[in-house]
Symmetry: D2
Amino acid sequence: MCRFVAYSGPDIPLENIVILPQHSLLNQSQHAAEAKLAVNGDGFGMAWYSDQERPGLYRDVLPAWSDRNLVDLCRMINSRLFLAHVRASTFGETSRSNCHPFACGRWSFMHNGQIGDFARVRRRLEASLNDEHYASRRGSTDSELLFLLLLTNGLDHSPYEAVVRTIRQIEEIQGEISQPNRLTASFCDGQVLYAFRYSSDRHSPSLYFGQGLDHGGKVIASEPLDRGTGTWEPIADRSFFTLAGGAATTQALPF
Amino acid sequence: MCRFVAYSGPDIPLENIVILPQHSLLNQSQHAAEAKLAVNGDGFGMAWYSDQERPGLYRDVLPAWSDRNLVDLCRMINSRLFLAHVRASTFGETSRSNCHPFACGRWSFMHNGQIGDFARVRRRLEASLNDEHYASRRGSTDSELLFLLLLTNGLDHSPYEAVVRTIRQIEEIQGEISQPNRLTASFCDGQVLYAFRYSSDRHSPSLYFGQGLDHGGKVIASEPLDRGTGTWEPIADRSFFTLAGGAATTQALPF
Amino acid sequence: MCRFVAYSGPDIPLENIVILPQHSLLNQSQHAAEAKLAVNGDGFGMAWYSDQERPGLYRDVLPAWSDRNLVDLCRMINSRLFLAHVRASTFGETSRSNCHPFACGRWSFMHNGQIGDFARVRRRLEASLNDEHYASRRGSTDSELLFLLLLTNGLDHSPYEAVVRTIRQIEEIQGEISQPNRLTASFCDGQVLYAFRYSSDRHSPSLYFGQGLDHGGKVIASEPLDRGTGTWEPIADRSFFTLAGGAATTQALPF
Amino acid sequence: MCRFVAYSGPDIPLENIVILPQHSLLNQSQHAAEAKLAVNGDGFGMAWYSDQERPGLYRDVLPAWSDRNLVDLCRMINSRLFLAHVRASTFGETSRSNCHPFACGRWSFMHNGQIGDFARVRRRLEASLNDEHYASRRGSTDSELLFLLLLTNGLDHSPYEAVVRTIRQIEEIQGEISQPNRLTASFCDGQVLYAFRYSSDRHSPSLYFGQGLDHGGKVIASEPLDRGTGTWEPIADRSFFTLAGGAATTQALPF
């Protein structure tokens, strides 16, 4: 299990979301309230967009709370669109290659959850990747693989379709499972912020849409960043969420 | 706050104490039960003795639970006498120089607690060091400084006297304090295992003496490593503890 | 390119080979004399055997010369059989999962060189792994993959045959290559030390067999560890080397 | 010995100086041409200014060439004024606290060289610090101490005077020395870029002033970043250099 946050809105210092709120992502790294594990100390990362196509990527294996660099980077870097993630590992060692977000071209991606029975199905899932995205596999996590499957399944053309196809593909390859699929993810192409929650047992990790932050931006977050300041609505399980040009839309996933 | 354990007895793999028990030090790094903070993820370390005078020292800034090397080292290294520590930082960055144990010649040392008003008194305490131990200062913690003060105050000649002198010296230099002194420490010269608890407010961090472990050794630990297997007795606040040749003695500290 | 050393003989501190000789592996990490790159600073590692079947494994991403732990571990740990490696990366990030040696069960393995056109053939080579060893893939290097191919091809039954089969398999899958294969590797099952050199262009990385070290052991090393003290013979390209019970044998590879 | 670069001019991506030039600082980390050691792999760091008073600070213990984050940060961060440094350690472990630049308030500072006989004079030099800057000592290097001495000696009021006073103070405390002082440093208050070279034996580390870079900015660098593109003039030993509002001035130091 992990915790994450994604922001879209006017240019702000990353610290306004990642560090400063009462229940910021940094706070959630030690005191997560709605996760199985309160501690998310197995690395962290962030991806942020400027006027270049490719996002910047900063990831490290230290706990977020131990990294002095993180505090300074979040104070100095401004962005209109960024993702940040703190990790509690289920599969895969604590290495930078296994830290979220993952990036590929203009896309960045982060995940909270698990592909059920991953050890059993990993090989067949990797075999489903197209050559281009097979070649860019760096680590050993189910999360990086989920991202590469989405890319293989047409993330560039239709994010919604790619998500539906990827979940179908995973469940076909799995057949009967002894562990549930619990997939809560957020991703971005540099313009639009996407997210989805899907679980085979209706227990996908928590996800909220937050508005009314004092800096005018909007946020998708594992947990509300504060109490009272913003308005926080849960995003439903088995739904697909889009935040484009400040407008949020939610579609049910067809499962 | 931190958690630690020290072992003296027959040669055993370090994992028998550090990794394998139900409430091992590794377990305490995420689930400490008797500390202000349950998580001790700001680095870790261990010092162990073989037939050389100087102990081996292994320290890193990762949380103990993230370090695959630690598991293998504890499986492969046997020792009759060792100290291990997981850190939750109060003063000083997460750097190897600030991780415990500290070592100097044949001595190793680890600490759990704080020198009250440390920022205010640091300079005068450092000025109390003799030249030799001033020169070996590497980090910026109160813990390393406490060790160097003990060495300056005659740890080689009388550990008990060095502890008494050092606490007196600290409190003289402090005068009135706004934060309590809470000092729970353990240290070793390669033969005898020492520990003490002292606090100005009778709230020094917990410390236990454990016997009857199945491998016959004896242990000083922040928290009992198991329930039922061994016999665990609290070591009293304001006392000085010695474990020499398998025999434990406790002396009151004269405060 | 990388540099490595493997030792078999009486129990000695690892430092006698890794740290202390005039041109020790630590020295080679900054001043390699027979490699394309003088600096091997992209991580390091060692595997050593005691009376357990599985070797101990210690790897880190720092340069060997920056790691204080390495010096202490090599001073404290004794072994009759060990491998050590310093890395200069060609494929794969600097992560612990990409550092050598790799270990699987009783086997440890390290490599110096490259599989030609690796990006082009990686997928088909990984598809050649059996399920067991596919599942244990952790990083993204050609070196780890070479080890897993050897295991798939019967390393447990006949190391010589496994090497021949694996080289044939790689070259069949490659077809025509634009980069040469240069494979200099050493591996161990806890009893016997093996090594081979193979290159498609007769330029495999250097490898020597060293005897007459003052502690009586024997060594396979990328470069002689000293001048004068021992006797160092080059191991020929396209040959397979075995050191068992103190006796060295060399077989030509059938290419 | 180390290598460094400082830039002042129009806003540019840090990579234009740190990564992209033919003999960039990243290149100098492995292939320094005018230093005793070609390899500067004991950590790195950078400080950069935006519209805040305090610079951002990013430092790590990996070699610059191993850190994927560095490449992305230098691609994404723009600045009008920044310092960057790669370290080859003389005193002090490889820890972030010992990496340059150091920062205090609006000041950032980096150094290449050594205080002669540092172990012998460290204590008396530290005793010369005022309380404020004594309290901010984090590591154990002569370089951080040199920065804190400059601050104590009035860096805020007159950088030139602070340099002169600090060198006099160091040499008074040293008396006769067995190792030369070799001090090449650069520092910045967020507006003006300063540098000086001083050595007791006329062998201070190299330093150049570079103009005519295609992005119009000006640079102080241990070694020219390219051949032909810019104009590079050596800064003389025993001189004090100022770059303010695009105008460079050099003053002789009175020794």
